[in-house]
Symmetry: C2
Subunit: 455 residues, 2 copies
């Protein structure tokens, strides 16, 4: 029997099992659902054992446990680590759901339930792909490790320590994560890079108290003017960041990557319509995809100082503030960038004020080389099933879990997601297309085939 046949035959049983899993309200953010969340961990542990995995355990953390299991019988073969999460987002506002979030229902060829797409459904598919191969061939082509956490929706506060402590146990040649979405229906997508970040605050301090702008204005440096001057010094007119050395470590796109992005035929028009502006603006010489995916940025996220009420108050304020995040790309290092920024601020501080820079948050950028065999094999697997070219993307944001896996385990990461932008993840009526469930399962089986010999 082929895995294709196996998957078809088992489909209703699989869905039954998935519905059981989706019925557990494992909302990690809500203390009232602590038991439920634990139940979902137990459910996965039991599923891993049924699959024939060894050393299946619930590792306790300061929050919800991490489920782990392994199958290491492919002696001499590479090892794959699969990451997923069993916790889900809260369901408010409940009245906007057409059917109850934890009573899975099929409507219009989609599974409706909280977690159907993010990420119970996709994690479940990994188990079933391995089951299909095991049942039809009696073995697996690689060693497999599966790590399923229960706190992804609350920022994975305990995952980094776990990975660090268990890095030998988790060591792998490739890491596969199915927790992202395809660009659109029937457009299989591989996101092979994400930006890092470096978030900081500027506090500008001038006179010791607010001053009357009539009596002092014009003679005492205004902290708002100073913060404006400082912020303006970060970019030139072409949107290029002017912090010395900022771009030094930026890895340019390869010709293959450029071609892959061009193949997406991304429309600036559609972005303009979506966000409601009449023109886009960004670093000169780059497309909007390049600007958001592979170019670093420095964006002011908040600014405040002086009077904000109705009307006017003739004050020269004592302080002004700005909150800033830089998005970083390979091989920029957040700590190095912060140093460059601090130097820049020091050199550009206007007369008459003191400026403090405080770091808030940082995360390294991540990329798995575009031409890495694990990426290209994923592409071929997608194309076998969907029969269209795979889209290659990079993400403008950060996924902390990906940074953590990347930094600690130092293995290539493949983000193979089967969700869709219309899945309503984190929103009412979360759903997962049955078509993507079926095709995704097949794609995963093909992926392990395609990886053979090239990993």
């Amino acid at each position: 029997m082929t895995f294709q046949t196996y998957i078809e035959e088992q489909r209703s049983k699989h869905l039954e099992e998935l519905f059981e899993l989706l019925s557990i309200p494992s909302i990690s953010a809500l203390p009232d659902h602590k038991e439920d969340t634990h139940r979902a961990a137990e459910w996965f542990a039991s599923a891993l054992r049924n699959l024939g995995m060894d050393n299946v355990e619930l590792y306790p953390t300061n929050g919800h446990p991490i489920v782990y299991g392994e199958w290491l019988k492919a002696q001499g073969k590479p090892t794959v680590l699969i990451y997923g999460h069993y916790d889900v987002q809260p369901v408010d506002p409940l009245h906007l759901w057409d059917t109850a979030p934890f009573e899975p229902a099929i409507r219009e060829e989609s599974i409706y339930a909280r977690g159907a797409s993010d990420d119970k459904g996709q994690t479940f598919m990994h188990l079933k792909a391995l089951e299909a191969i095991l049942k039809t061939t009696g073995t697996l082509p690689f060693n497999f490790k599966i790590c399923i956490e229960g706190e992804e929706e609350v920022g994975s506060p305990n995952l980094p320590v776990f990975i660090e402590e268990k890095k030998d146990m988790l060591a792998a040649d490739v890491i596969v994560v199915s927790d992202t979405a395809m660009m659109e229906e029937d457009k299989p997508t591989i996101c092979y890079g994400l930006r890092g970040m470096c978030g900081f605050q500027l506090d500008v301090k001038g006179p010791r108290r607010d001053l009357h702008s009539g009596l002092y204005g014009g003679a005492v440096q205004n902290p708002i003017h100073a913060v404006v001057e400082l912020l303006q010094s970060f970019h030139d007119k072409d949107g290029v960041i002017t912090v010395e050395g900022f771009y030094d470590k930026v890895v340019p796109l390869t010709e293959d990557e450029k071609a892959a992005f061009e193949a997406l035929n991304a429309s600036e028009e559609s972005v303009m319509n979506e966000v409601g502006v009449t023109e886009l603006f960004g670093e000169k010489g780059y497309t909007h995809l390049e600007r958001t995916w592979v170019r670093p940025t420095l964006e002011v996220n908040g600014i405040y100082g002086g009077f904000q009420g109705e009307g006017i108050k003739t004050v020269l304020p004592s302080e002004a503030h700005a909150k800033i995040t830089c998005r970083l790309v390979p091989d920029q290092d957040p700590d190095e960038i912060l140093e460059l920024l601090q130097k820049h601020v020091k050199e550009h501080t206007p007369p008459g004020v003191e400026v403090t820079v405080s770091l808030f948050d940082k995360g390294a950028p991540f990329v798995t080389p575009f031409d890495h065999p694990a990426i290209q094999a994923a592409s071929r697997a997608f194309e076998k099933v969907f029969e269209v070219p795979t889209a290659f993307t990079r993400g403008g944001g950060s996924l902390p879990i990906v940074s953590n896996l990347d930094e600690i385990l130092k293995a290539p990461i493949v983000l193979m997601g089967f969700g869709l932008p219309s899945d309503n993840v984190h929103a009412p009526n979360e759903n997962f297309k049955l078509k993507n469930f079926d095709k995704g399962l097949l794609t995963l089986c093909y992926y392990w085939e395609e990886l053979e010999g090239v990993l």
Copy 2:
């Protein structure tokens, strides 16, 4: 009998009358004190009648009445209008007063009471100066009109309409206001100019909703970046305002004025210590006095956009805002300046956003020429009594009543104040030095003498 002798002999009676006036809690801001405020108006009306003034009346307004009286028996002689106000500031926090605000007391040679300096005490002195001259000479050297309003402490909302409606009744050759302070003890001061203003708001609108700065940052114009660019465009590195035509109508200082300012020996050090900065900053090529008194400014009083909470939020906000006031000097016109500003904003609006300019407030600058006989006569009167040179100053702020009197009545205005910076006006323990009460009364009597023949 000379007016000097009369004043000395009547001193205790004068103080008794003043204490009666200061006992009336005429707090214009508080509805509970409406009757009290009216009582203070009646008190002044009665005092004007006792003085021998004609046509004494309380003119009702939408708020508190305006007291008016006139003495027009100096046929063929010029006319003087004296402006004062009978209302006072609230007294909170009451527990910080050493004696009750409406139970006048003399301590350490000062009169302690709300209104002692601002402005009941100083207005009262004008009545007593005229009384001294009338009683000792039987007549007055000019025609006198006295206008005492009851809403100065709430922004004189009804005064402009009154002046406009009664501009023939109020017409004068010179206007004298005693509602300001001397620079310091024993340093008589004449403020002969004030800056005007033009307050406006910039509203910068970008995308129709807040965007994720990871997903859109770098490709969509950030309204905070746009407002920063716009604000930065208003000044150059030397603090010079770069709005085209902004300085065109600015009247330069005369050599006499420059000399008068230099004679003040104003110390930058003391300003730095007072406000707590290590250096001053302002338009290149001007002293700090010139920067606050005779140069126009453009100051951002408030700025806000995006996230202001603790930590960081990776948002690219939909909007950003700035509140700005320009201080204007003769002969800048607020309406013309607003037009120049709007043109500048239009020409400097960064791509990808829309900017709206809203006017909030405006007021014309005012100056009585430094060499005007009414100014120089006031200087001589001060010097006769205080026996030191008079300081000539201009004010960086605005006094709306002065703008109104200036614009509607078009007569030179002399600000002859006898208060001190230590009088605690608008604060607990308001007080007025007996020395300044005595010397001020004499100065006013001398002033009318000095004005004779030169007005």
